[in-house]
Amino acid sequence: MATTVIETRPDVLIDFDKESQGDVRTEEMLINMGPQHPATHGVLRVVLRTDGELILESVPHIGYLHRCAEKIGENLQPYQFIPYTDRMDYLAGMNNNQAYAIAIEQLVGIEVPERALYIRMIFAELNRIASHLVAFGTYGLDMGAFTPFLYSFREREMILDLFESACGARLTYSYINVGGVHDDLPDKFLDVLLEYLDYFEPKVAEYNQLLSYNHIFVKRTANVGVISAADAVGWALTGPVLRGSGVNWDLRKSTPYEIYDRFEFDVPVGLPGGSEGVPQSVVVGDCWCRYMVRVLEMLQSCRIIRQAIKQMPDGPHLAGKLKNLKLPDDEIYVEIENPRGQLGFYVRGDGSTIPARVKARGPSFCNISILNHVGSGCLLADIPAIVGSIDIVMGEVDR
């Protein structure tokens, strides 16, 4: 059993063998956190072995939301499977659509129109902001701060309004499709979007004031659930969890897909305490770093969207037909940077219109696997902090 937190925080350890006196008997307790628990973000079940408030072991059990997404993909044409990808990571539907669409396009060899690429990228980044807003808000909720949650949902609501104006849906978009996007942008969409960005960017400073640098919040999250860079790479963590551990790895930057190589943006990574804008008690790879990477990524997404609006070309938004594409007898594996990490799709065609095999690599699924590693040796109240900072979506863990 790994004991990273025990090593860094020996002050929380109570040695019951030494402390118990006389006939007082202490014993470990097994307790189920979930599948119905307010802090497990869905139907995650964590079996905790506890010694009072101290957690000795926290084993995640999954599978309560399994819906055979991959098997469904092997029975439908790619354009029909797009709506199912929405349901995987339901907070980042656009990004899921995009991943599957890119996989099919590369397999079949479809040239996506320039305008569609820009629209896709704007929506993927907007969805990244929306998804990180939920992560930010619910993380405050896990810490017992109710107000940031309402603020973040207020801002997310406006993004959903933008999505609704473009594709008519607010959660399961199915907007990005094989060969482009389903519909062209509505009139004045880009103006409203710019207006929103002007409104949103100052709000991040407000969030930082309210939550990020709140003394209690830093006390709760700094030096809690520390994942070292080696551990993060070793456990195949991706996304903000990996970058929170100080590893500068973002697929948008390191192996740019679509048109990400045309934009300037930074990749925020976890910094040690005492650096600029980082409280003294923070350690690289703790919950505060993972949380802060998301907050900073929202600003970087705004930066990308601003550049994309300037470069937006005219032209068609969809390359030819969607239906009855002949998938060649070949295979492809594509990964893109989802808000939660690298979402990969493996697709193998057999000459028909229906894929012979579809396999998804969900970032939440891989990220949650480290829970027992960092979650043993912490306190009970740290478990929601760690689960929240890993930011899982159970729809994607179970698929």
Partner: protein, 512 residues
């Protein structure tokens, strides 16, 4: 598998007969008459109700005073008792009873007021008043908390029930809770499970019996009122622990154990902080402690010297922990322990916990007000009132309104309640080890230093000397400035509420 009752199984319609039928019919008739009126004038009815409560409380005391002034003579007492027992009264006896010397009111009234001279009757009347007050306070604090939370979170809070800003939302919730299923989980300790809410709720009421709202506005004038109230707040914790243990739920046990841990850590600094005003005044009687602070706001104990000021702050922090309010709401921390000690509770029992919690919030605020913040006195000195106001009814009313009275006590308590709400909706929750560290490692030594410092200060610094006056005036000015600042922020927030909430809250929400 737990055997649960099946709500969809058809049940016979309840038929009310006899007395219950009469009561049900009466309730229906009142509802039929009152509902249209309440719907038409909700806001004015609410304000009217508040004023009526104040007037009724005041009339109560006038009544007692009247009864004291016009006691029926000994002879007529005997005849009155005989009259009650059914014996015949002679005409002469009645005339004798009516003609008490110097009675301005019609003599017949004296018979009506006759029972009020007995202590037990007065106690029953006052207990009824206190119970009514305790029922109203949580209802409106909950509604108000939801409104304040809504304002903080740029939404509106309850808007529908009752019309004006959802003012009867809590009452509707209460009716819903009472109607819920009487549910006790399998393998729970039935007796303790049923007992626990009362153990948590009753002490909160009992604390009100010793809490003075004004010089004469106290149910029982106790010499050790402070100790009594602290003891009652301590018993409340027992109810929480009992509830957690009896629920047969691991999360509830966690909540209960956290409450126990938290109690042993906050109770000591809290008790020590309460010793400071006791030392300053030299009595444990709350009424006396309150009465020495009547000389304007500079005479309030919190501004007396730096140590009392610090003690007031420490007391308020510990009081937050004692009411299980954020950031110390660990026993029921929603995101960690589901609902903590009341996970398995629902319906009426759950609402008792809530009533107990909000009543306790009022009690700790009341303690803070009486011991530190000038009790029931307004910031104006009482000497002004003595100079300008006489002793007639109107002057007394003006005195209560502007200088000293329960109204000021309730106002200050409500302000402190508001601060509790404000803190709850702003701050995240502290972890249990941090609570223990904060209370035992920082607050306890700090309180010891304050206690020692205050003792030496009282011993060495002459009262009304230069040093004493300097600190008194300086702290008073600081305190007044802080208060003005907060009030101006609140006014700014209220006047610019539409702008601050933003377009989403103003334009798109229904009922806004």
């Amino acid at each position: 598998m737990t055997q649960m009752s099946v709500p969809w199984r058809p049940r016979g319609k309840v038929r009310y007969t006899g007395l219950s039928g009469l009561i049900a019919g009466f309730a229906r008739a009142i509802y039929g008459m009152a509902a249209p009126v309440v719907r038409a004038f909700p806001g004015s009815i609410l304000l009217g109700a508040i004023f009526t409560v104040i007037l009724v409380g005041w009339a109560h005391f006038l009544l007692f005073e009247f009864a004291d002034n016009h006691l029926i003579g000994a002879d007529s007492n005997i005849s009155a008792v005989r009259g009650f027992l059914g014996a015949e009264l002679t005409l002469a006896e009645i005339e004798n009873g009516l003609a008490v010397a110097g009675a301005p009111a019609p003599g017949v009234l004296q018979y009506a007021f006759y029972p009020i001279q007995f202590r037990i009757v007065r106690d029953l009347l006052s207990a009824g008043g206190i119970l009514g007050f305790i029922s109203v306070i949580p209802l409106y604090t909950i509604w108000w908390e939801r409104k304040v939370a809504g304002r903080i979170q740029s939404r509106t809070g309850p808007m529908r029930v009752g019309g004006w800003h959802g003012w009867s939302q809590s009452m509707a919730d209460g009716i819903k809770l009472i109607n819920k299923e009487d549910f006790v989980p399998d393998h729970a300790d039935g007796v303790l499970f049923r007992l626990a809410p009362y153990v948590a709720f009753v002490p909160a009421i009992l604390a009100f019996f010793a809490l003075p709202f004004g010089t004469y506005w106290v149910f029982r004038e106790l010499d050790v009122a402070l100790v009594f109230i602290l003891a009652m707040l301590g018993i409340e914790v027992l109810g929480v622990i009992l509830a957690g243990w009896a629920s047969n739920n691991k999360w509830s046990v966690y909540g209960a154990m956290r409450e126990a841990c938290q109690m042993v850590s906050y109770e000591i600094p809290m008790g020590m902080a309460l010793l400071i005003p006791v030392m300053a005044v030299g009595t444990l009687s709350m009424t006396e402690i309150g009465n020495v602070q009547g000389d304007g706001w500079t005479s309030w104990i919190v501004f007396r010297n730096p140590f009392t000021f610090a003690a007031a702050v420490v007391y308020y922090v510990a009081a937050l922990a004692s009411c299980k309010r954020a950031p110390f709401d660990l026993p029921e921390s929603e995101s960690e322990l589901v609902s903590g000690f009341h996970t398995e509770y629902s319906g009426f029992r759950w609402s008792l916990f809530f009533f107990g919690e909000y009543a306790a919030m009022f009690v700790v605020s009341g303690l803070c007000v009486i011991l530190f913040l000038g009790a029931w006195h307004s910031p104006l000195p009482m000497s002004l009132a003595d100079r300008f106001l006489g002793d007639d009814l109107l002057s007394r009313a003006a005195k209560g309104l502007f200088f000293s009275g329960p109204l000021w006590f309730v106002l200050k308590c409500v302000w402190l309640l508001y601060v509790q709400i404000w803190i709850r909706w702003t701050l995240p929750r502290i972890r249990i080890d941090q609570v223990l560290y904060a209370c035992i490692q920082y607050m306890l030594p700090l309180m010891m230093v304050i206690l020692l410092g205050h003792t030496l200060y009282e011993l060495l610094v002459p009262v009304h000397g230069i040093v004493w006056t300097f600190f008194n005036i300086a702290l008073s000015v600081i305190g007044g400035a802080v208060m003005l600042f907060l009030v101006s922020i609140a006014c700014y927030g209220y006047l610019n509420r539409v702008k601050l909430v933003g377009w989403l809250g103003v334009e798109t929400l229904p009922g806004s």
